[in-house]
Amino acid sequence: MSTLKTHNLQSPDAGSVNIAMTPNAGMVVAGLSTYSNQINVGSNIKLGTAGVVTATSFVGSGANLTSLPAQATIANNADNRVITGGSGVNLNGEASLTYTTGILEINHTSCQLDLMEDGATDSNHRIRQNAGNLYIQKLSDNKSSSTTGVVVDGGGHVELYYSGTKRIETTNTGAVVTGILTATSFSGNIVAGAGTSNITAGIITATNIELAIPTSRRNFFINGGMYVAARGTVTGLNAGGFGGPDHIKLVNNLGTFTVAQGNEHESPRSEGFTYCYKLNCTSASGPSASNYVYLHHEFSGYDLQLLRYGYTNPHPITISFWAKCNKTGNFTVTFRTVAGVNRLISKVLTISDSNWNFYSVTFVGDTSVVSVTAGGAYILEIWLDGGNNYTGGTVQTSWSAKDNADRGAGSTLNIASSTSNYFYYTGLQIELGTVATPFEHQLYQWYEHECYRFFYHPNRGSDLLELHGMGHRVADTMGAVIQAYPWPRQMRATPTVSFDDNAGNSNRFAVNGSNNSTTNNVLLSLQQNDQGIMGAFQYPHGISGISENESFRLWAYNFKAEAEF
C-alpha cells in the first residue's frame, strides 16, 4: 500500500478525532504534547527536542521574551569600526559619528588620543590629547608632520599660534601678545611690568591716547644728564657747596672734596651719557658721630605738587641713575618732604664693583600733605658717608617722621675714608610711577635755560659783568644811576649776588669814568629782584670822581647770581 486514504485518525480510546485530514490543506493534530525528535516546519523552522527553536528570521513582537542575556557582546572586535544605533532592530555601521545630546566620553590612560579626518589629504586638522595637553594642529606630509594652532596646556594656560609661531598666551593675570595687537578699540589700563618687562613697541597709532604718566617732561630733575656745569670744577669743599654739574649740592662736614663735570671718556657713553658728576675725595677723614657726606637735590612744592601726597591715591615715584664708585658697599637713597611736613623714606643700594651700574628705587606716595610753594619742599639725598647721628638709625622703607639718624641709615660706603675714593653718577631721573623709563634726554639749550633759573654768571673772562651808568644830581646832592640788566630768565627767587672789584674788595664795584680813570671799592644799591638788576644807584653823595652827567662803566668781576634752594 503506497497511499492510505482516510478522512480522520482516532484512537479507539479517544472521544474525538486525533488527526484530521483536510483536503488539499494538510492535517490538524489535536493534543500533541511529546515528540521524540525535532519537528521541521518548512526548511527553516526547527522545533528541537531540548526546547531550542531556531530560524533564519523571526517576525512579530518579542515583548514576551524572558530570560534574555544581561548584555550583548560584539564579538567581532577590530580597529577603526564605528557602531551606531539604527532604526528598528538594526545596529548600523556608519561613515560618521553623530552625537547630539548628553555626554560623549572617550577615556584613556597613558596613551594618545587623536581625532582627525581619515585619508591622506594635507591641510586637514587633528585634535590631539597627549601628555596632559590638548592640541589643535594642522597636518601635512600625509599626516606625518603637524603645525600647532592651539594648545590648551595642562598647567592652565592657553596658547594661540600663527603658522607655528606663538602669538598669544594666557597667564594668571591676563595674556601675553607677541607681535602687533590690532583692535577697533581698546579700553582699560596698560601697565608695564617692573624691571626689564617693559612695553616695547615700534609705532603706536591711535586717534587718542590718554596716559596717566607723561611721555615727555617726565624727569623732574632739570640737569640729570649733567650737561650744564656753569660753576666749573670746585675744589676744597669741606663744608658743602655747589660745583660741577648745576643744581647738585654736596653737603658735607667730613673730608674734603673736589666736584667737577666728567667728560665723555669718564661717563657711560655706551648708555648715552657724555657727562657725569664727579666727586673725588682729596682729604680723607673718618666720621665722628655728627659728620655727614651726601648729595642734595631739591624740588619746589610747585614742581612736584602732582605727586598728590596727602590726597587720594598719592603717586609713587621712581628714581634711577647710573653710578660708578671705586668702593664696594652700601649707600642710601632718601627722599624727604620738608614743607609743612618733615618726613622721609629710604632704600639702601649696593655697589658691588667699580663699573658703571644702573640703580633704581621706587618709593610709594605719602599720606601727609606737602605745602605748595616756590621754595624747597622735596629733597632727594644720596648718602655716601656719615657718623652715628646720621647713619645709626633705621632704614625707613615706608614713610616715617624724619629722624636724622635714619637719613643715611644703611650707608657703609665711607666715601671720605681715602683720597683715592670717588663717586661718579649721571642719568639721574626722578619720575612718576613705578617704572624706571629710559633717561629723557633734552636739548642742551633746554637744560641751560632751566639751570639759569637757579644760577647765572656772565659767560666771559673773569665772569665780568659790565654795566653803564651816569653821574646824576638831585637838587644839591650828587648821585649815580646805572642801567637795568635782566637775567637771562626769571630766577626762582631774588638771587644772592657775589662779585668783587678786581682789587681785593668783595661785593664792591670798580667804576671806570672819563679819561679811563678807575675808582675801586664802590658800593651801590643794586635793586635786584628775580628778573634782574632793576636800576642800581648810589645816592646821596654819588661816586667819587664821577661828575654830574659823566658816563662811566661799572665793573663787577667774578659776578654770580644764585637762587638755589
Partner: protein, 115 residues
C-alpha cells in the same frame, strides 16, 4: 657777620649780597641767625655824617659851560667872577675835610625778626 646795605639788601661781609626775599635761601639763613644769635650779628647801614671835600666841592662847582661863560665875561669886562666863585667853594670845603661815616641804627624790619 652781616651788614645792612639798604632796605633791600644785606651784605654777608666779604661773601655776598643777600636780597631781602623770603624765598632766598641765604635770607632764610640770615633770619635764622638773627633769631638764633640775636641782632649782634648784624651791623647797621653806613650813614654819612660829613661829606668828603672833593665830593662836596663837585656838587657846588658850576657846570663847565657856566664856568666858561664866566671866564669869557671876566675877560671882556675885567672882572673876577669865575675866580671868586671857585675860591669861595674851595674855602667852604677845605682839603682837610674828610668823609665821616657813622653806623645807623638797625631798621625795624631787622629788629622785628628777633622779637
Amino acid at each position: 657777620m652781616y651788614k645792612i646795605i639798604d632796605d633791600n639788601s644785606i651784605e654777608k661781609i666779604g661773601v655776598c649780597i643777600i636780597p631781602r626775599d623770603e624765598l632766598n635761601k641765604d635770607y632764610q639763613q640770615f633770619v635764622a641767625d638773627v633769631v638764633g644769635i640775636g641782632t649782634t650779628c648784624v651791623e647797621g647801614a653806613d650813614k654819612v655824617v660829613t661829606t668828603p671835600y672833593n665830593i662836596a666841592r663837585a656838587v657846588e662847582y658850576p657846570s663847565w659851560q657856566e664856568q666858561q661863560d664866566m671866564q669869557y665875561w671876566d675877560a671882556m669886562n675885567g672882572t673876577t667872577t669865575w675866580k671868586d666863585k671857585i675860591t669861595e667853594i674851595k674855602n667852604k670845603y677845605a682839603k682837610s675835610q674828610v668823609g665821616v661815616n657813622t653806623i645807623a641804627d638797625l631798621p625795624d624790619w631787622v629788629v622785628g625778626l628777633s622779637t
